[in-house]
Symmetry: C2
Subunit: 334 residues, 2 copies
């Protein structure tokens, strides 16, 4: 593992993107999102994901110069066509649009069809909270999870992001509907570790903590068994219906051809009715109740979603972004 | 278990409610909601819950004649004060208001503070879909669940409802953030059964399927461990902040004094941009993909959330509502 300064990473990625046909400003923004993701400690979806992102550009899944287009609007609700553009740039533009709508209407909602993988979903939650707004967004994905009661991968892990502004540091939940991602299973297996809790079924249909057995059966567990399975289904349904886009079952099983997906972006203005000093107090009260409660392990503290992000961000800004040498060499050669 | 006709149940409950001070029309509506809940097969929150509901009226937690009042509004977003009125009547009125707002703005949102237990959350999801709208609502609750990493019950199981309209039968997810409710744990214990999956911790802090051990430790599991714990926290935060109401940690631990809670109601109009024949096709396509996929157990079928409701409803309408003799005797004596 080596450390590279944030600006150097961004510059290198931007230059690779320009060579792939991105206009200068879009290349800068896209590169910044990747660097920020690694900087925030979401290593699976930052620099390490860049080679796969480039693969989806090279195979035509992503159209580098396509920008989203509004196809319908009524008050606080809009439908946009992502035109198979870069998923992260599309998502950034759509949360910005939801924020604009919520400034005008208190709440705003954009349904986006025909888009691509947004990389780290939390990015758009942070985006909303930086404007002082509540942000809620979700995406459907390729079929990568069996529904409860089934053995075939026909539902998506459909990440859901719910972000709440707070002056002392926003609370940002970014959760996929599988208990462990395939990336997490792989990483446990490589370390020779068992999962901390059941993560899926083995080939005999028994619940197991063995990551290799789950990779083999392709039957990871939805979060909360039947509950997360149901949540995945309704999130897919709303995204596809509101955007008139594709549902999970219509998407490719191949990650580099996972394209034309559907997403939802909601923003709410907690100060729509005027400045509200009580908001920070309410949020801080909830955080304090967590921090002051008795931890399960001595010396630990109960945390809120996203609590570690600002600390990790500051550390990685200072020390440089951690990058895998092999991945970095691949990027330098692009 | 005896069976009583829907109308007789409704009439009996309505007359008990009138004696408790409900105006005639509100008594009818409230009684109908309880009867419908049992009719739909949600036995924990229908007739069986009525005695506890009455207890919260008698102890002053619920103010029978209080109606919600709008305290602020901006475009598609409103804040209402529930004035400690009956939680189910308040929630019904607030989803109706969210539907009205979404007719005018495409999407509508009501934050409701100072309200009471809404009984069955799914009721308000069905309400939205019957109007042809997507409905999303959630509530905070008394502290009844330890957060991930903690041992004290300081977060709520905060039920979340997401409902999608579909001509052939809506898809309605109604999920609490605990894997098993205390009611479910009790019922497994009484039947002498183990839970089908881990449901909490025993006194030694080990995951267990033994319902009695979890009842003793007061440490049921959040859905998906850390994930449902995080989801519970952000739902509480949004409901309390947007309504300027109380957060879970500020509520009583005693169910009959769980009052003054906070809720969110969102409605979205999938036909805001005009009639859209493709909607049913998209929803049906997702349902078909579930039904046609390979089940984990031969002879079973993968189901969508709420799939059994219409069948159970028809059966209970025909045969009469199943009621516990002891509960029914208690209601007759009210």
């Amino acid at each position: 593992m080596q450390r590279i300064a944030f600006e150097d990473v961004q510059q290198q990625l931007a230059s690779a993107l320009r060579r792939l046909g991105f206009a200068a400003e879009r290349a800068e923004t896209c590169a910044r999102l990747f660097a920020e993701t690694t900087c925030d400690g979401v290593y699976t979806h930052g620099i390490n994901r860049f080679p796969r992102y480039v693969a989806t550009i090279r195979n035509g899944s992503v159209v580098v110069d396509a920008e989203p287009r509004r196809v319908a609007g009524f008050g606080a609700l809009e439908r946009w066509d992502g035109r198979r553009g870069p998923g992260n740039l599309n998502a950034l533009a759509m949360m910005a649009r939801a924020l604009t709508l919520s400034r005008a209407h208190g709440i705003g909602c954009v349904a986006l069809g025909n888009t691509n993988h947004w990389m780290r979903g939390g990015t758009y939650g942070w985006q909303a909270t930086e404007a002082g707004f509540v942000g809620i967004c979700w995406t459907n994905t390729m079929p990568n999870l069996p529904p409860w009661g089934g053995v075939e991968r026909i539902i998506g892990n459909n990440p859901l992001v719910i972000a709440v502004p707070r002056p002392a540091g926003p609370v940002v939940l970014d959760m996929a509907m599988s208990q462990f991602s395939y990336g997490a299973l792989e990483s446990y297996r490589q370390r020779g570790e068992m999962l901390p809790v059941d993560g899926g079924f083995d080939a005999e249909g028994n619940l197991t903590r063995d990551p290799a057995a789950i990779e083999k059966s392709w039957r990871p567990l939805p979060v909360g068994y039947w509950k997360g399975s149901g949540l995945s289904i309704v999130l897919d349904m709303i995204a596809a219906m509101m955007s008139l886009g594709r549902a999970t079952h219509q998407l490719s099983h191949d990650p580099v051809f996972e394209c034309g997906i559907s997403q939802m972006f909601l923003a709410m203005n907690p100060e729509a009715f005027g400045p509200e000093p009580k908001l920070a107090e309410i949020a801080d009260g909830i955080v304090a109740s967590l921090h002051h409660s008795e931890p399960a392990r001595e010396g630990k503290r109960v945390r809120y979603p996203g609590e570690e992000t600002l600390r990790i961000r500051a550390e990685n800004r200072k020390l440089g972004l951690p990058v895998e040498p092999a991945v970095w060499a691949e990027i330098l050669a692009m």
